[in-house]
Subunit: 258 residues, 2 copies
Amino acid sequence: MSLGILYGVGVGPGAPDLVTLRAANVLRSAPVLALPRSSDHGRSVAWQIAKPTVGEIPGQERLFLTFPMTKEPARLRPYWDLAFGQIGERLERGLSVAFVTEGDPFVYSTFIYLLREVPRRWPGLRVEVVPGVSSITAVPAAAGIPLADGLERVAILPATYGVEDLTEVLRAFDTTVLMKIGSSMPAVVEALESLGLADRAVYVSRATMPEQRIVRDVRAVRAEHGDCLDMLVVFRKDRSGVLAGEPAGTGESRGGRL
Amino acid sequence: MSLGILYGVGVGPGAPDLVTLRAANVLRSAPVLALPRSSDHGRSVAWQIAKPTVGEIPGQERLFLTFPMTKEPARLRPYWDLAFGQIGERLERGLSVAFVTEGDPFVYSTFIYLLREVPRRWPGLRVEVVPGVSSITAVPAAAGIPLADGLERVAILPATYGVEDLTEVLRAFDTTVLMKIGSSMPAVVEALESLGLADRAVYVSRATMPEQRIVRDVRAVRAEHGDCLDMLVVFRKDRSGVLAGEPAGTGESRGGRL
């Protein structure tokens, strides 16, 4: 029996209509949907996003898999082993499995860990990655502020893993995207204030979802604990545009918010 | 007469089925599609991507607009004025205009320049941005190499605007995305070689298009002149994964390509 195909399918940041046509096709035709959730009894955000497009398909299996939100390998391993074993059992029966991820499958996603197991667990497996709209671009769209143009540079950091050198990054990059903020919020706001950038930052949680929340004064969220669906973007906008070097008449286009 | 709505619609990196459902809806219902191209007689890449989904819609206007590939403000300005004037003429007639961009409208796109003119030219205009799949995630998907996971950090630079400090960036970031490479290719390859990272880079042009080209030995493209649809991604992968700190058993997952 030949192996099924493993798809990593990004369904975008949250709004069901930000799913791509390709994702819709793959999700409608795969015999098995692997749907991550963060607890055994919690909802799968990926399925919430995909459900309006996929609906109920006769014979299609929805395999909910639990991946707890933790950085502790000892806690993660048993969940991964269980989940990857369940996926493998389907692949080995020749069934194709679409692993559904919020945003893009290659941006801080559990699919990456699954993929890393492929050579050892299922040598020769065919893998297809369907890129999705990432919050890296959906959050700027929601906030109405471009991610980057002209000669601007962008840094993307997972804040959960330390923001010791954040000041340095904020100095060197025009746009800084802080993902997975968690307990780093106070340190992040402090770094912004020390650089005079607190007014150049936007906090967005659940971008494009009905619960979307946009906070333009990040001091107001200083005491909050972020979750995995939030992001803070710092836009310096002090050298935006190919016309940034133009001497006259473009003053209003520099340093200004849209 | 009230103004139409201005939409910035990202149609993704190139494959027509990487258009989102929302982009498809907006493009099918807008009375005017504004379609950028780089020369008066050239094709519009944005329209090539959208065409299979939109097709011929009775009464819909396709407004092709020329934005030459140059960084010289003096050359750009007259084209922008002409294009923005044509868009404004429709908006002022109450017609909604969908400005179509490859990738995402907020990632190094002409739409950003258009948006900057809004407060001055059309105060009170309603603007909606439809985020798209950016090459920032489509290129890693095509190359089969995750953009970032765990504690990894990503830097995105437009190489056209100088790579003097590239070595520093390559040292500090796990993944470096070089967009708009143009004539910087030799300098980029040299920087990679000096850091021993030439084997950790992938050059991709026209990702997800029929002409997609993936070059895993970047030394082979050293002498090439990049275009606006190419990208070079450097994946250090030396601290990937939340399990990166795990002492045993994960050695095969570090530093390895997928």
